[in-house]
Amino acid sequence: MQNTTGYPQCRIVPMRMLSPDTTKRLLEKVVTVPGIRRILLNGQNLPLTIPYGPARGAKNPHSMRKTIKVADSDIDLHVQVGTITLEIEDRSVTEKIRAICNEFFVDFSCYVQEGRFMKSEPSLVDYAKYGPRADKAMIGLVDPKRKERPSVIRFSKDQVCGWEI
């Protein structure tokens, strides 16, 4: 069991919600930075079927719901990405991320925040879903109600960004 408590976190907040292509281009730059433990993509849910109203249950084709490929790993985007939270080894990584973002975002601005944005200790819901011996590396990465598992991004043989399955 890995202990994730105590690692610093930072969050990329662009002024616009990102398209899958932009998310892919940004992530390709971000994952090259050494010292990133976990990445969480947050945003508005893009449901597969229409959730409410007279058309409830009908298919909901949406161009922002895509599978993107980052460092040879497939990531199914279920959301339109609004923020990207990173758990990092130490705070010096934040400055590298900030430098990448300042260079990357040209058409609109973006800021990088430091703080605690991702769950690092199991909650009661996590206990109910995963039990007392839950892998803490998984806590906070996925909604406990979901069946999907997190993606693993392997940038090189030596470096793994994400959760080891």
Binding site: M15, L18, Y52, P54, A58, H62, F108
Partner: protein
């Protein structure tokens, strides 16, 4: 002396725009043309070319009771024909959309007859007879009250008002009812409840940021006109706040004018 309504307080451009939308004597600028058929498609209430279903016989065929109010209030076309009550619902982005939910309700109450608006923080629905609705939609969609990117028809799954915009400047829509096409036009590919349309319905090009800032009806300290720039509006809000607090707590505190 003839009473001249003020419609609203304020000296800022936002206050002026609010008054323009509310004043039925002010002609709103038409910025685009949407055909009747396209409006029927967007609303999705009945099939193209189909007759309007009705819920009661036309009033002319009914025995109307002898009622002074019925003589005084003339029925709308929809009511005369016994149309069903149907709706249109809008979500307006807080990033300088030309109209906003509360503003819509005020404007519609001044301009339209026989309507039943429902106002929420991020969306506004208006219900009325089907035939009347299609006429009212013309004003709501073709004039300066509508912007293709920042105002959206959303019968259900309305989330988007308070969210950041998408990269292309469109308001977020979980159902992606409209898209910004390569030719720069916004096209609806689904009707307001999210069912796919047989052919896309174009609603024109998104308006530019300068125009939106000049025609917005929402105060926004970052991208638009801050409320602090309009002391008259603040004075009005503070007066309302003070009076309602005092009336609720100790009405005797309120001095009569």
């Amino acid at each position: 002396m003839k009473h001249t309504p003020q419609y609203g307080p304020g000296t800022s451009v936002v206050a002026e725009n609010r008054r323009h939308q509310m004043d039925p004597g002010h002609k709103l600028t038409t910025l685009r043309h949407i055909t009747e058929n396209d409006i029927v498609l967007l609303l999705g209430h009945h099939a193209l070319g189909a007759r309007y279903p009705n819920v009661h016989p036309p009033l002319a065929e009914q025995q109307e009771p002898d009622c002074p109010m019925r003589k005084l209030v003339k029925p709308t076309e929809g009511a005369k024909n016994g149309d069903r009550v149907r709706y249109i619902q809008f979500a307006d982005s807080m990033f300088n959309a030309p109209s906003q939910p509360y503003q819509r309700t005020y404007a519609e109450m001044y301009r339209f007859r026989a309507i039943d608006p429902g106002t929420l923080s991020g969306r506004q629905i208006v219900e009325c007879r089907e035939r009347d609705l299609e006429q009212y939609c013309r004003l709501l969609l073709e004039t300066e009250m509508f912007d293709p990117a920042l105002v959206s028809l959303r019968g259900a799954t309305v989330h988007g008002h308070s969210l950041r915009l998408c990269e292309n400047g469109m308001m977020f829509d979980a159902l992606q009812r409209c898209i910004l096409d390569n030719d720069g036009m916004v096209k609806y590919v689904k009707d307001q409840i999210g069912l796919p349309l047989d052919k896309p319905v174009s609603v024109g090009k998104p308006l530019d940021n300068d125009w939106l800032k000049k025609h917005s009806t929402i105060f926004h300290s970052l991208v638009g006109t801050p409320l602090r720039d309009d002391p008259e509006y603040i004075e009005y809000l503070q007066r309302i706040h003070t009076l309602r607090t005092k009336y609720g707590f100790l009405p005797t505190e309120v001095q009569k004018p």
